[in-house]
């Protein structure tokens, strides 16, 4: 059972739309190391956990990851507000727009649709926890990469976007160490 809390976990208020940035940020929703993969992973693995503490922990984390999906999606939604056809073309957002307009489609930045091939669920406590560690380590390694990519776009959205994402990465990684 899930109950909706009608608020974001962390506020998202983006002044200037930036579709070029949205093209990159979308990987954090539906990419191989995105929030949707994280949430699906934990919420699927938890059932076969032999230890109630671990199963409960995976439930709590999986639910929080859903809140992250919502926040990143809110970032994308606000980055793509009020666009003119010229802005869409100039930003290279046209290749996404042709299929999804400004809908939030869970996909990687490369255009690959979200797939559960990104995650593993083996019903084995060691295999699954090992997979969780590997996934989280990937996110820690990806963090500087993402920041660099975003920095190159030289945008005022930088603080709005990257700060909440990177703090979430950090707190999540620290918590799980």
């Amino acid at each position: 059972m899930f109950i909706y809390d009608r608020k974001l976990q962390y506020p998202v208020k983006i002044k200037n739309p930036n579709p070029a940035l949205a093209k990159i940020i979308i990987s954090q929703v539906g990419g191989p190391d995105g929030e949707l993969a994280a949430s699906t992973r934990y919420l699927s693995q938890r059932f076969s956990m032999p230890n109630r503490n671990i199963a409960g922990m995976l439930t709590d984390i999986g639910v929080e990851e859903l809140a992250h999906v919502e926040m990143i999606s809110a970032i994308l939604y606000q980055l793509t507000r009020n666009l003119s056809p010229e802005e869409i073309k100039k930003a290279g957002f046209d290749t996404y727009f042709v299929d999804h307009t400004v809908g939030i489609y869970p996909q990687a930045a490369s255009g690959t649709p979200f797939t559960t091939a990104y995650i593993g669920v083996k019903g084995d406590v060691l295999a699954d926890l090992h997979e969780d560690l590997a996934a989280d380590a990937t996110m820690v390694n990806a963090q500087p990469l993402i920041e660099n990519k975003v920095k190159t776009t030289r945008t005022s959205c930088f603080l709005f976007c990257v700060f909440p994402i990177s703090t979430l990465f950090c707190q999540r990684s620290l918590r799980r160490m």
């Binding site: 608020k7 974001l8 976990q9 506020p11 409960g56 709590d60």
Partner: protein, 84 residues
């Protein structure tokens, strides 16, 4: 920052602290310091939520209602610019 934004920030801050303390307690359920912190922040989260909902409308379905019109979907949705 408007009164509504400030009230919402308080809910977000307290809820986040409570969530993280809860995660920690999953791993260390007998940590007295963490248990005391959890009790404290739980109270703050409840109070912040009640204060927000009284003035600005429901955050969960259990706080929704209305005498002539249902108020659950009256305010902007959380991802809207106006809601933050």
């Amino acid at each position: 920052m408007t009164d509504q934004q400030m009230a919402l920030r308080k809910v977000q801050q307290a809820d986040f602290a409570m969530l993280e303390a809860g995660m920690y307690l999953n791993g260390y359920p007998s940590c007295m310091e963490a248990l005391a912190y959890f009790e404290k922040i739980k109270g703050e989260a409840k109070a912040a939520r009640r204060a927000y909902e009284e003035k600005f409308g429901p955050l969960t379905l259990s706080a929704a209602g209305g005498e002539t019109c249902f108020d659950w979907n009256k305010s902007p949705l959380p991802w809207e610019w106006e809601a933050n």
